[in-house]
Symmetry: C2
Subunit: 429 residues, 2 copies
Amino acid sequence: METLKAGLLGFGTIGTGVAKVFHTNADLMRQRLGMALELVAIADLDVTTDRGVATTARLTTDAQSILNDPQIDVVIELIGGYEPARTFVLTALNNGKHVVTANKALLALYGEELFKAAEENGVRLLFEAAVAGGIPVLSAIRENLGANRFSGVFGILNGTCNYILTRMTEENEDFALVLQDAQRLGYAEADPTFDIEGIDTAHKLAILISMCFGTWIDFNRIYTEGITRISALDIQFARQFGYQIKLLAIGKCEDGVIEARVHPTMIPQHYPLADVRGVFNGVRLMGDFVGPVMLIGRGAGMEATASAVMGDVMSLARQGRAAALGYPPLSMARLPVRPMDEVVSQYYLRFLVKDVPGVLAQISGVLGDCGISISSMIQSERKVGGFVPIVMVTHDACERNIRQALERIDALPVVEGQSLLIRMENSLT
Amino acid sequence: METLKAGLLGFGTIGTGVAKVFHTNADLMRQRLGMALELVAIADLDVTTDRGVATTARLTTDAQSILNDPQIDVVIELIGGYEPARTFVLTALNNGKHVVTANKALLALYGEELFKAAEENGVRLLFEAAVAGGIPVLSAIRENLGANRFSGVFGILNGTCNYILTRMTEENEDFALVLQDAQRLGYAEADPTFDIEGIDTAHKLAILISMCFGTWIDFNRIYTEGITRISALDIQFARQFGYQIKLLAIGKCEDGVIEARVHPTMIPQHYPLADVRGVFNGVRLMGDFVGPVMLIGRGAGMEATASAVMGDVMSLARQGRAAALGYPPLSMARLPVRPMDEVVSQYYLRFLVKDVPGVLAQISGVLGDCGISISSMIQSERKVGGFVPIVMVTHDACERNIRQALERIDALPVVEGQSLLIRMENSLT
């Protein structure tokens, strides 16, 4: 196979994202895979609206023309819901095509039928995008953590709920008001029932439980309670006890018995899951050898979800022959490395100085000479070995300038010993 | 291949962990893979010390007997260092065997030679355990996030440094003292140079940069600065500015130019990476479609590292035929689900009551009757719609008892409306 050919069912938000990745990162993916990926056709009821994405794919209203196209290797199902998605996926599998889907509702209710159909037809049904969007949690469970017996899986899996609870927490607002605002901003659907009642989260939990514990689970056995009864008052009390309230999916396996529940949950404030804010998702796994593993990232949205869909498509293209570094060794570049002198950063600078007048003027004079401007400063009362610490945070500056300035400052008679610099990193939001 | 046969070089801490996974989770891995994994031989200079692990593997002092054993499919290299590890890995690859290694120093310096040898011999060289221990970050980059062009990778990759900085932060202690204590507790080596000077972190960053940006990087081009000059004073000042100090590996790629540096770095306190405490590791990736992704877990230790090694071994066994759910569909169980009534949890209970004497006695009387004991309580001054909120946190209790109690409490004339329960989850440390 020199080119893997894909057909897409559903040209909505996620479908548009997928078409965008096919187009934008075609060269990158070809380099990584040593083969090309081609989106040959897209089926949707609406083939006239401009999605603002460049694609060479044939547009059609006829899904069957994709399902029955012998040149298509992979069908990407992004229609959502039960029908016609279920019938389309079954048809694709029975026609010997691999399927990639983001459809958690379908898998939570009809997974057993679909996975067995894939097995019978010797093809694969992949679904990384169905749980926690762009976060590669399903493949971690399936593959790299596969040597572990899992005892628990915990997830913040619904961006709408987490957005609402985060705003209720940070702005002390009540549920109804924040929900309205979330709807206005596009973070909640016009009919938000599936999200705020926990059903979407329960769909995702069903998939996680099957993968972590190797069991089918009847979706109706998952206890599901939404966030509609939580008030700002409860969030404040929770905080007084040292907790945050999150809509948490909880899966446990103890002595061969499963616990499966989705409900508002108080999590100690200092746990990493408590820090998963806004539309972000987070999943925590507990394995017998690896211990706890946490993954955090975007759980929804056009681009993050498309990343997960395309990860699956690439996995099908590779057929287990992934290059160890992600790129075939002979395709690797030798990119230049920026000399440290040219690195730009904010800096924390700490000086120890004699407690005499004019010191600050001398230091800031040198910094000014070197083109370095100060963002904030602390001059401490406390003495260290008879000297006074002066601490500054700079605006962005170039390492070369900082080093020159420190050399000159350290030579001042009023300055003791070698001053300290610590680089800052503010790009990690 | 009905059984994948592995030979292990190096029976130290990690080697012992690997032998333990082979033994403990043999059945689980066989179920997941649909085939068996067998550890047939272990080579170490010391074959007499009892490692306290059950294994049927042949013990030998002769590594060549493993490297030349035609029945061995995979060689697991856990010797560490450059030689003889490098020669052994090359011999294994040239003998047509796959290699799994945790040796970051070897890969950072000789990766290009080794990966090309693997490619030429049509075998695979895997190394998930080399970076961030049990956290499945390398496979995420290689596979599931492969559709992304990465712009940055950031990591807390050395447990020793993070342990020292965390204790300096939380206990306001100076470096030398905490280092001594870390050595006493086994969190730092007798010669801690590689860790505290940032060299181990730089080895790992070299690997991350190759994988994220598809480039070879000369290890000497990575700017590396350790944590020995950081004082408790600086940590306090950093905190005043709203930052934590971490030893951070920073890899960026901008317009085809790489930034590669390891140094103490100030990270805003509210960033998830700032919350990576003690011996834990954390990695943050930034991809053009997925956005930011964070992974947190154990970066070292016998068991977590063994989990990563065995994930690679399983990947070799699968050859890309991973079951979609991690288990072949026909091997899945139907485990019983615990009825919600029998779930045990701590509970937050919120009541709205009339502001009259004796209310608390009535409520706590019912709770006591139902066998529920209170861990803490807040009675608020503030009124809500003319009623007073009473909030309690229980000790572990059974859902059935809580529901019975709430039903009785809600029927009390002094209690307004429906009381609220929120379950708590304290097992996520």
